[in-house]
């Protein structure tokens, strides 16, 4: 069972279809599967529903798929950094479904975990609750949210072995582990592709069962908001 593909293009072959739902990891540009997203753009696939916390920025991440109008609908929690998004949305060319970030991450986890729906306090009594079931548990208001499963999940990890076991690094972990579980097909791009045995079994974030295809990526990681302090003079 070979999971390793030579590049992003070949890893996407046979799994890309117009109108499909695609999850993409990342919080802003941090931990985003940039190499796979570029290949998805180049595949020419259309009418995608994309599930991702943000919509990338102009010229990077899912912003690339907005330029080419390959996205029909976004499910996201925050899309503030993207002018193209605003334009297409205001022109009625793009649908958006906002999910509170915790609800979105839990919906993805639920989808991967065989949980059809769950009750959360988040959003009870707000517009988000409209059309959703409300229910009181222990005197508090909860609303029902459903699990999300995607046709394809694209994730970015720090290290991965040829079995598909993945390890993430620092805050680049974010949405990647849940999305890996919620894709009917999950493709991982990893910065370091290693042999089985090189990762400690206690320290694997995503077991290989969740990853069907894996590629090595050498793409540069970009910083979205560079904030620093000055070094003190010695």
């Amino acid at each position: 069972m070979k999971k390793v593909y030579k590049d992003a293009k070949s890893a996407l072959e046979g799994v890309v279809k117009d109108g499909m739902m695609v999850m993409a990891g990342g919080f802003g540009l941090c931990g985003m599967p940039e190499t796979l997203i570029k290949a998805l753009r180049d595949s020419g696939v259309k009418n995608l529903t994309c599930v991702s916390n943000n919509a990338g920025i102009d010229g990077a991440g899912l912003g690339l798929l907005l330029e080419t109008r390959q996205i029909k609908k976004m499910i996201a929690s925050y899309v503030g950094e993207n002018k193209l998004f605003a334009q297409q949305y205001l022109a009625g060319e793009l649908e958006i479904e906002f999910n509170p970030q915790g609800t979105m991450s839990e919906r993805i986890r639920a989808g991967g975990a065989g949980i059809a729906a769950f009750y959360t306090k988040t959003g009870a009594g707000t517009e988000i609750a409209k059309g959703k079931e409300e229910r009181v548990f222990n005197g508090e208001r909860f609303i029902m949210e459903t699990g999300l499963v995607a046709d394809l999940s694209l994730v970015h990890a720090w290290k991965g072995d040829t079995e598909g076991n993945l390890v993430y690094r620092k805050t680049a972990r974010n949405f990647n582990p849940m999305m890996a579980t919620a894709g009917r097909v999950t493709i991982a791009e990893v910065e370091h592709l290693v042999q089985p045995g090189e990762l400690d079994g206690d320290m694997i974030h995503t077991p290989g069962v969740y990853v069907q295809r894996i590629i090595h990526t050498t793409a540069e990681k970009r910083i979205e908001v560079r904030t620093t302090r000055k070094r003190q003079a010695a």
């Binding site: 802003g28 899309v79 009870a124 690094r169 974030h205 979205e224 620093t228």
Partner: protein, 224 residues
């Protein structure tokens, strides 16, 4: 004289207790980290999946894999742990974070909060705000007492009822503005109570700038 942004943050920091786990929103709330008393252990949670973060990195030390919820580069501490977004919001929604400080457009006297959208304007999304206000043990809003429009007109932000779409219903425990501090009995019927005035601010001034009904704590009356 009303409090400055830094003085509001300093006042907010007085709500911290040793051992607290705290989430700070963007804007004035971020400044609260500058006023954590020496020797007090307070761990800052960042909802993108990090518990215990430090100041901005020195120039040249930025790490693209190490950012806060505002997507700014930050640093880690010896106590830092990382986790997924689902685990992060499990922590938030499950009531394990002691306190959240955040900004607001409007707060109502029953604890309703509006800070994520203005109908008719481009909507950016609520991010993690709805989860934070629903899940964190104590929610403290830090904001200017009134909104000033370009023509200098002032509009109340502490209201009988929010006119903007809510971020959360009955979620705010405390409001710190440039003029004073209010407690809100968000789950009970106690309403809103003014517990502190900024130095030199009068009860009349704060009443004139507040649309919400509020009680005045005995200590404030004495001082006034």
């Amino acid at each position: 004289m009303p409090w400055t942004r830094d003085q509001m943050a300093e006042r907010a920091a007085k709500e911290l207790r040793d051992g607290f786990y705290v989430n700070l929103g963007i804007g004035i709330p971020t400044l609260v980290s500058n006023y954590i008393p020496d020797g007090m252990s307070v761990q800052l949670q960042s909802e993108n999946g990090m518990l215990g973060f430090g100041p901005f990195p020195y120039e040249g030390d930025e790490d693209p894999d190490l950012i806060n919820a505002g997507k700014q580069t930050v640093t880690e501490l010896k106590t830092t742990s990382y986790f997924s977004s689902a685990d992060s919001f499990a922590m938030i929604r499950g009531g394990h974070i002691d306190m959240a400080f955040l900004g607001a457009m409007q707060v109502a006297q029953n604890g309703d909060l509006a800070n994520w959208m203005i109908p008719g304007k481009m909507v950016k999304g609520m991010g993690g705000a709805m989860d934070l206000v629903a899940g964190v043990k104590k929610v403290c809003v830090i904001m200017e007492h009134v909104a000033k429009s370009k023509d200098g007109k002032e509009e109340a932000k502490l209201l009988q009822k929010c006119s903007l779409p809510l971020t959360g219903a009955n979620v705010v425990d405390m409001v710190i503005t440039d003029l004073g501090v209010f407690n809100i009995d968000k789950k009970g019927s106690g309403g809103m109570t003014l517990i502190e005035l900024a130095p030199g601010v009068t009860l009349d001034e704060i009443k004139s700038k507040t649309e919400a009904s509020f009680k005045v704590d005995a200590k404030v009356k004495q001082a006034a």
